[in-house]
Amino acid sequence: MIGMDEKLSFFKDGVRLDGRRSDELRPIKIEVGVLARADGSCYMEMGDNRVIAAVYGPREVHPRHLQEVTRAIVRYRYNMASFSVEERKRPGPDRRSNEVSKVSREALEPVVLTSYFPKSVVDIFVEVLQADAGTRTAGINAASVALADAGIPMKSLISSCAAGKVDGEIVLDPMKIEDNLGEADVPIAMTPGGDITLLQMDGRLTKDELKRAVDLAKAGCRQIYEIQRKVLVDRYSHMEPEICDEAVAMAGEEI
């Protein structure tokens, strides 16, 4: 992933170009319930990434033949706004966003209690308003909170972030320039209990480096989980006890 000409140092005085340590996440901001029409929603910033997730459902499935008799289906649509990237992107799905939608859905499905709502659908929509490496992980984080906000029963939240390799070193949560010119990228998602629900990798790593990357990304997920949990607790602790209990329970019980 790196060309000779573009060689540049990703570290200066022991810290990364944006001042982070190797094991440090970018600044995170999460707001829950930001949309009026959606059943649940969440706005998230991870560094320069800006994404919004909305959840609709459980609701009726169209077209009908997609219905499952014993459980709800989950749909996930990851979409980049035309203006979210350097060069204007044509509107609509491309091959990359199709793949991201698939793996993101499969990152969340393991915790959604789909058997509670046979024949229905839970629709998750993620819009990327600004992209700076890590939009799929930011989208999964936001979607997880939006699901909780929509009151969709889940075994737990899902938290997601990537680890990468730059200048031979394993780093947490690579930003755009590290991702473009780095040597590897390993996005993961996991439950608070440590089960991996998303795992992709590209670049080049030894077995040992891979292990360190997964360990580091898991540590990142744990930090993100604490933030997700706090946001939900803050939002629902002002509500009537029973609603609050349910949301907080979901946010917390598995940690």
Partner: protein
């Protein structure tokens, strides 16, 4: 929407009231933030009550149309993404999205807001293409006005990224006029501005009037499967000019 809700709204209007307590010609609160999207050359987030619209402007070199070889090009698109409403579906823009984009485009184009000749780089070969992308985030009614406001606000704060293409220094997009769209619906004899989703669905016919800084009209669109009286048209035009002026002064002063 349930019939009972329709009746309720109708009866309110007969009494001179609206469900959220606004006057007939009163807009919901408007919040406008520009420059939030660093990767766009111009951007604006508009909140019109609970309606939320993000508009991004991207500016890139490209070929002019063969019949206007010395003019820049404006391309306007609106995405009614399913995140924004339970009634929006994934897929290419349907006729509602296309109409929205075309009305926003009409305001910008017909007002002469953008000095297109100033966007020529090499006649017949290369001009600046202005992409106006309207991204609806939350549809709580009156997307036309919110999107139009977002478009002109994003354009007014946009920079032409000349340096990036080796074409000199970046410079502000040359904006010459400030079109503002104002939408109203007819409810029996009453005329109601800035309708929310409920009001839109009860009234079923909207009129959008786009005015320029000098008080001219540069675009109109009747939208919806009903009719409207000529009298109502002219009353809407009169008030639209006033409302547009207020919005222009409050949010779009250069």
């Amino acid at each position: 929407m349930a019939e009972i809700r329709k009746d309720y709204l109708y009866h309110l209007v007969l009494k001179g009231e609206r469900a959220d307590g606004r006057r007939f010609d009163e807009y919901r609160d408007i919040v406008l933030e520009t420059g939030l999207i660093r990767k766009a050359d111009g951007s604006a987030l508009v909140k019109l009550g609970k309606t939320q619209v993000m508009v991004g402007v991207k500016i890139q070199p490209g070929e002019p149309f063969s019949d206007t070889p010395n003019k820049g090009v404006i391309i306007t698109n609106a995405e009614l993404v399913p995140l924004a409403s339970p009634s929006f579906e994934p897929g290419p823009p349907n006729e509602v999205g296309i109409e929205l984009a075309r009305v926003v485009d009409r305001g910008v184009r017909e007002s002469g807001a953008i000095d297109l000749e100033a966007l020529c780089i090499t006649t017949g070969e290369k001009v600046w293409i202005i992409f106006i992308d309207v991204h609806i985030l939350d549809d709580c009614g009156n997307l036309m006005d919110a999107s139009s406001l977002g478009a002109i606000a994003a354009l007014m704060t946009a920079k032409v990224p000349a340096a990036q293409y080796g074409l000199g220094e970046d410079y502000p997009l040359p904006v010459k006029d400030v079109p503002v769209a104002t939408t109203a619906v007819e409810f029996g004899d009453a005329i109601i501005f800035d309708p929310d989703t409920d009001e839109e669905s009860v009234a079923d016919t909207k009129l959008t009037v786009i005015t320029t800084a000098d008080g001219s009209i540069c675009g109109m669109q009747k939208s919806g499967p009903g009719s409207i009286s000529q009298d109502a048209i002219h009353r809407i035009v009169d008030i639209a000019c006033e409302r547009a002026k207020e919005i222009r002064e409050k949010f779009l002063e250069v």
